[in-house]
Symmetry: C2
Subunit: 230 residues, 2 copies
C-alpha cells in the first residue's frame, strides 16, 4: 500500500520585514498571492496530496475571501497558527491522524521549490524517516564571538530550506515536546527528539520571499518559468 502524502504550508508570518500593510504570504507575484502559488506548486507536483494551510487566526477571513473571489481551486484545509512556528506546525500536525502517512512541512512564502525536490523529499523521507532540503553557501561566513567575529570554513555549513519532510508518527512524536527557544526549524525539533536529520539537495530558486527585493526577484523567476509550463 502506498503512503498517503500530506503538506503543511506554514504561513504564520506578519510580514514586518516587507514593510507592507498585509502579511507577506498575501502579497502578489504575477498578480497572484504568494500563498496561492505555493499551494499550486505542491498540487501540481503531487495532485493527490492533502494540504493543510496554517494561518494566523486573524488572517483566515482574508484568505477565505481571496479564495472565493479568485476561485482558488487547490483543495486544502485551513487551521489557525500559534505563537511561534513550532506552535503553528503543531496545530497543523494535530489535524492529521495517519500513522502510514508522510508530511512535507513547507514555508508558505517559498513558491519556487521545484516539483523534483518535493517528490524527492517524500521518497527519501519514506526511506530515512525524514528529508530536508539544503544548499551550499555561496558567500563566506563568520561566527559572532561576543563583540567580535571569526572566519569559519564555508564548506562546513549548509543552508536549510523547506520542505522538511517526515514520516508522520516520527514528527508527531517529536512535536509532543514543550517548545524550546533553540528550535530553528522543524528538523531541529526532530533532532531534539533524537532523530538523525537526512539532508537532500534543494534548488537554488527556492527562496524565502521576505523582503521587497525578494519580490522583485520572485517576479523575475516567475516570468522566466511560469508554473505549469515546465
Amino acid at each position: 500500500m502506498k503512503d498517503s502524502l500530506y503538506a503543511i504550508i506554514v504561513a504564520g508570518g506578519s510580514g514586518s520585514r516587507m514593510g507592507a500593510a498585509i502579511p507577506k504570504q498575501f502579497l502578489r507575484v504575477a498578480g497572484r498571492t504568494i500563498l496561492e502559488l505555493t499551494l499550486q506548486k505542491f498540487h501540481q507536483a503531487i495532485p493527490e496530496i492533502s494540504i493543510v494551510v496554517v494561518l494566523p487566526e486573524a488572517e483566515i477571513p482574508r484568505w477565505e475571501y481571496i479564495c472565493r473571489q479568485e476561485f482558488i481551486c487547490v483543495p486544502h484545509v485551513v487551521v489557525s497558527g500559534g505563537q511561534t512556528r513550532f506552535h503553528s506546525v503543531k496545530n497543523g500536525l494535530d489535524t492529521i491522524s495517519d500513522p502510514q502517512g508522510i508530511v512535507a512541512i513547507h514555508d508558505g512564502v517559498r513558491p519556487f521549490v521545484s516539483a523534483r525536490a518535493i517528490a524527492e523529499s517524500f521518497k527519501q523521507a519514506a526511506i530515512f524517516g525524514n528529508a530536508t532540503l539544503s544548499v551550499p553557501l555561496k558567500d563566506s561566513i563568520r561566527r559572532k564571538m561576543g563583540e567580535s567575529t571569526i572566519a569559519e570554513p564555508r564548506t562546513d555549513f549548509l543552508l536549510v530550506q523547506t520542505p522538511q519532510t517526515f514520516q508522520i508518527p516520527l514528527i508527531q512524536a517529536a512535536f509532543a515536546t514543550d517548545y524550546q527557544p533553540f528550535f530553528t526549524d522543524d528538523a531541529s525539533v526532530a533532532e531534539y527528539a533524537g532523530q538523525q536529520i537526512h539532508l537532500i539537495e534543494g534548488n537554488d530558486e527556492n527562496i524565502k520571499i521576505t523582503t521587497p527585493q525578494d519580490l522583485i526577484i520572485a517576479e523575475a523567476l516567475y516570468a522566466k518559468n511560469p508554473f505549469g509550463e515546465k
Copy 2:
C-alpha cells in the same frame, strides 16, 4: 590630507558554475558585461578612485577588446591574476605603493553593491583599519559533522560580502604571508595576521553572480534600479 582611495576588482573566475563558454565576469546584464557594471558602480560612487582590475592572464586580451569595442570609459589598470584569489589579490596589491591609501577589494561579479556601502566601507576602514560588508542569514543553517549535520543558531552567523576594505599598509603586511588553504576571503588573510575584522552593514542586492539563476535575478535588479539613476 585626505586618504587616496583604491579599488581592486577581482575577476579571476573561470565561470564553471555558470555553464557558459565565457568567464562569468564577461556575461552580460542589460547588454553590458558584469565587470563593466561593477567598475561603473565604483566610479560613480567615488569618481576619483583608482581602480585595479585583476583578470586571468589569458582573458586580458578579451577584456581589452571589449573595452575598445564598447568605449568603456571607466579609468582602470589591468593586472594578471594568480592561482587562487589570494594570489590574484596579492598581484593587485603589489601594484599599489601608497602608505596613506585605503583599498576596497571587491568581487568583479558583484555589481549591485550600493554606493552607500562602498563609501561607508572606506570611512570605517579609515577609522578601524578595515571594514567588511556582511548581512544576516535568512535561512536556517546546519554544520557538517562527519557524515551527519547538526542545527546551529542562525543568529550566531553573518554572511560576508565584498568590498572588504583596508588601510593599505595593513593589508599589504597581511598578504606578505604564504598562502594558507583556510583563507576564505581577504578579511581572513588580515585576521590571520592578527587584525581584528570590523564588520559593517552590507546591502541585500549585493549578490555574487555565479549561476544562471543569478543572471535572471541580476536582470530584474538592474531593470528596477538602473545604475546612474539613483
